[in-house]
């Protein structure tokens, strides 16, 4: 690897574009619903904060390690475990609440990433190679297990590459559509919908309604559908025409930079292609 992902424009960074794209989706689909972001998740954290200020004023969101609900920070911390990530919260959840709600299906939406993400939206945080002496030891499953109980899991990665987006995960720590079709619901609670979208530095992807295989939904400015396919480790379902992800508007960037990320953290978050 790893060429740093570049925006087609000097006007915004790729993590800023991803943040805005996520915030729009939260507005379209999750306003009034309760969800959360994990700890090493600076982009989804910024997106939830931006959505609460713009597209989803009724959003309920839980901010990972610092455990605040609906925090109102304007200086985006790099980690949701940073105590400053709980600034201005309207409530807190302790870790036992988080786990209780994970098991009972209390979370409407959430963002998860992985060391590997496969064509059916399964996530691997365990590792690559033969267990136990893995070739690449991953950081551990942590809360990715909840992709099996979240009503609508959203996936993201900051690295769009064939080694990350693989045909089949070496291990599954967060269930997506397992082996496609209806196989997910043989394993997990049938009250959940499975992964909705994947946000990457190159594109937004969704899943074919029947086969549950990953499908290209829109390509970020500066990249083509072919670029996306070349950097993906399996054949994507390819619609006849693939639209471009709408670039952030001046107003979206204004709110993001003045009220969510005054220190410009999202300008320096690492995003890579290949």
């Amino acid at each position: 690897m790893a060429e740093a992902a570049k925006s087609a424009s000097n006007d915004y960074s790729i993590p800023e574009l991803m943040t805005v794209a996520m915030a729009r989706v939260l507005g379209e689909r999750e306003d009034g619903k309760l969800g959360g972001v994990g700890a090493a998740a600076v982009v989804p954290m910024a997106a939830a904060r931006l959505a609460a200020l713009t597209t989803a004023p009724n959003l309920w969101w839980f901010c990972g390690g610092a455990s605040g609900l609906n925090p109102t920070f304007d200086r985006l911390p790099k980690s949701s475990a940073d105590p400053r990530a709980a600034l201005g919260s309207t409530g807190k959840k302790n870790m036992l609440d988080v786990v209780d709600m994970g098991i009972t299906g209390g979370w409407d939406w959430g963002f998860n990433g992985g060391l590997q993400i496969d064509m059916y939206g399964n996530i691997n945080m365990i590792g690559i190679g033969t267990y136990p002496q893995l070739k690449v030891r991953g950081p551990g499953t942590v809360g990715t297990i909840w992709t099996g109980t979240l009503r609508r899991p959203y996936l993201y990665t900051m690295h769009h590459a064939s080694r990350v987006l693989v045909e089949k995960c070496d291990y599954i720590s967060g269930p997506g559509y397992i082996s496609g079709g209806t196989s997910r619901w043989d394993k997990v609670q049938n009250t959940t919908d499975g992964p909705q979208l994947l946000f990457s530095p190159m594109a937004i992807l969704d899943f074919d309604p029947d086969s549950k295989r990953m499908r290209l939904k829109s390509v970020h400015p500066g990249y083509s559908a072919d670029d996306v396919q070349k950097n993906t480790g399996f054949e994507l379902v390819m619609p006849a025409s693939v639209p471009m992800t709408a670039a952030p508007t001046a107003e979206e960037l204004f709110v993001l930079r003045r009220h969510v990320d005054r220190d410009g953290v999202l300008k320096n978050v690492r995003a890579t292609i290949g």
């Binding site: 700890a39 980690s79 940073d82 988080v98 786990v99 030891r137 991953g138 942590v142 997990v188």
Partner: protein, 294 residues
């Protein structure tokens, strides 16, 4: 009239106490509120063959003990340095076959601790929580059982008991009544699930101070065996409300271990015998600046 006995001991004495145990548990999250001074003291005092039960997310706290060669077995939920990358000591130890990992996750570590805290032999969770994953295949401690009431399949998460729980508090009195600011409250169960508890603290406060702020006392001190006064005792992790995480220092650690230069880090930052000598190594300018990011 009689006075209660103070539990305050030196950092070195606490290190000796910790090193006598085998199963050590920790709280804190990621790079926040890890009991780093106690960990360094335990390493100096020859802690070896340890089993670590960490919080659901950890970074340098567990990684330093692993990199220093003190750990045999690690209960995993998540260990990593977030934006810096994978935990280098952990990764090297697993990939070279030196560390046994119990492949857990958030509910495994948290509910296992809850079970031990409450005296429950195990906690069952619906099979659907794990059936879509490889964890039951990789973790033999996740045993499938039948719900005796409904016949439904469940997985039994075993009670995770510790010998000694080590914690860093923002304020603590000499009897061990402790305040943990920030975080997500993993400390009380971690303490209850351990035979003994050792606390380091930014400030040792008077018992009158505890009485005045009793609604902020997270952990009553009855189970606490020792209290250590360790200003900046969470450094290089953050101490909520007191100082932020020292990101450049975390990077120094991360780079040293990744390059196989763990010894140079240990010589410089773990070898100093007192907290004052350690803080000399870090430097006052750095320590003052970290207060701005609390």
């Amino acid at each position: 009239m009689a006075e209660p006995r103070s539990k305050v001991v030196s950092l070195d004495e606490a290190g000796r106490m910790i090193a006598q145990h085998k199963v050590i548990s920790l709280a804190g999250s990621h790079s926040v509120n890890s009991p780093m001074a106690l960990i360094r003291a335990a390493i100096r005092n020859g802690a070896t063959g340890l089993t670590i039960i960490p919080p659901v997310t950890t970074a340098i706290a567990a990684d330093l003990m692993i990199a220093a060669g003190c750990v045999d077995t690690f209960y995993l939920s998540y260990i990593g340095f977030e934006t810096l990358g994978f935990a280098p000591g952990f990764r090297a130890a697993v990939e070279s076959g030196k560390l046994k990992v119990i492949e857990g996750d958030e509910p495994f570590v948290l509910l296992g601790t809850r079970a031990a805290a409450g005296g429950w032999p195990f906690i069952p969770v619906p099979a659907g929580v794990y059936d879509g994953t490889d964890l039951p295949r990789l973790n033999p401690l996740l045993k499938k059982i039948k719900d005796p009431h409904t016949g439904a399949d469940c997985y039994a998460i075993p009670a995770l008991h510790a010998d000694c729980c080590i914690l860093h508090a923002q304020e603590c009195d000499e009897l061990g009544n402790a305040q943990f600011w920030g975080g997500n409250n993993q400390e009380p169960d971690k303490a209850a699930a351990a035979k003994t508890v050792i606390i380091s603290t930014e400030r040792i406060v008077s018992i009158d101070h505890t009485r005045k702020h009793v609604d902020r006392v997270t952990l009553p001190g009855h189970k606490v065996a020792a209290v250590v006064h360790a200003p900046y005792g969470a450094h290089p992790t953050a101490s909520p409300g007191v100082y932020g995480a020292d990101e450049p220092h975390l990077k120094i650690y991360f780079d040293a271990v990744r390059k196989g230069e763990t010894k140079s880090y240990l010589d410089r930052f773990v070898a100093p015998k007192t907290q004052a000598e350690y803080l000399d190594q870090v430097g006052l300018e750095t320590l003052f600046a970290l207060q701005e990011n609390a």
